[in-house]
């Protein structure tokens, strides 16, 4: 799951997102900025979940 999320913030996906949603805003911020932040927090959540599961 972590690697899948990492792919979402690497080229070419991340460049496609930026180009496709360049003019979009979310929560008063550029969509691209919010998108990256959301994926980063999701990856951290996966790491914490993994420790709690004692994997």
């Amino acid at each position: 799951m972590f690697l899948g999320l990492m792919v979402l913030v690497q080229p070419p996906i991340v460049f496609w997102i930026e180009e496709r949603f360049r003019s979009a805003w979310l929560l008063g911020l550029p969509f691209f900025y919010v998108y990256l932040g959301f994926v980063y927090f999701a990856m951290i959540a996966v790491l914490i979940w993994t420790v709690r599961r004692k994997v």
Partner: protein, 499 residues
Amino acid sequence: MEPWVIATSLIFAYLLFTIVLGFVANRRMAADLEDFLLYGRKAGFVVLYLTVVATYHSAFAFLGSGGFFYAHGIGFWEAGTWTVLVGAITYTLGVRIWALGKKFGYITPADMLADFYESEAVRVVVAAVSVLFTILYIQVQAQGLGYIISVASGDRISFELGTLILLIVAAGYLMAGGLRAVYWTDVLQGAWMYVAVWVGALVLSYELFGGPLQLWQSVARARPDLLTLPGPQGFFTPGMWFGMTIALSFGIVFQPHIMIRFYTADSGKTLKWLGATTPLFLMTLYIPAALVGLGGAVVLPDLAIADQIFPELLIRFAPAWLTGIILAGATAAAMSTLDSILHSNMTVLTRDIYQRYVAKDRDAAHYMAVGRWIVVVLLVIGYLLSVTTFDFLVTLVTLSGAGALQLMPGVMGVCYPTRRPFTRLGVLAGLFVGLGTLYATLILVPHPWGLHAAVWSIAANFLICILVSRLTPPPSPETVERVHGAVEAYVYGGETFDA
């Protein structure tokens, strides 16, 4: 009282406090080498957490990241990818390094590699690469410190003098208290820098734009080019994005000051929690950095040195007392990394070179004294580099990370058991080819086809390492069984290795 006096006085008050901490650490220090170099392998979660994040984030994060947002725009938010990846690497690889260090008493990265590959040549080359590329990192911190104090004092204290003063303070408390002093000051510095960068960015956002959201809207109106990829100067191409992710995650983790921190954890559980939670600190520090850099590009668009954007904004638009506190936080960010690099290079040179080849079988006090002299030499080299060479802080850090990245195949070969282990000749050949490729793709033909030199160099390194390892004799079966058996016992066998 004039604002520059208040700002500079607060920075000096902070420096005085770190010196006191260093001397208190000295009084608590046991007179043995493991305590001086590895904190006695007793670092708990809170201390280890703050020292790792404070060490990872340096002048590069505090000043360089603002400068990069200022010059290249929103693309630098990719910083989140490498900070989160650092957590995952710590979780998976860091615990293996910790377990092997605990089991076999390793102190430096070269200890581990030389033991597994049964080669003194591997020890010397790894030690040399470790020191060579982290000296660049000393330069980054020293330059950051010089920027801070020269801006805070309104150029009354020159860049050169400011750099020298702060280098001497960091070296002073390190020489007094060893890694214990570094860890104690890092706890203070880690907390201070985080609060400082957030408070500074928010104060400036409200002062200049009416709030963070209004700041983003102003950037969209005044500098829309900063909100696109690859950025106004075309820097963030897909190849650079991927390359920086690799260089600044794996590359930083393989630097000795981070690897040595893995050895110092009190348990594997501590290290796993560290891996899972450090990205929270590391990644969220770039949120205020974006506010500073992007907002700064709107307010002060013609700054000559982009890395100075944060202190310049503070000096011009924030109250003097707040500027002093925040710039002391920036000083903390740079010093917490600087002291760790000085310490790790001291450890590598004392342990891997001096103790091994110059003077064997001396007492701990002798090696500690030699280590202190090595710090003095490193300090002089770092100072000379910082006042004679200038570049973007982020660029220097990336180069430093790409160099240390070349240790990756060797370390992976030790920590991940495979049917066909890498050989010493494979690791050495890969390392030299990797460094040669790094030189070619960074200096001669920079980043061919838009792909970062770090990617070219590590790909060449792995390829040669695998090919040569197929053709040359592996480590003895006893060593492979001993080391890889210990890894498997820890990872799959449930052995804790805890004392």
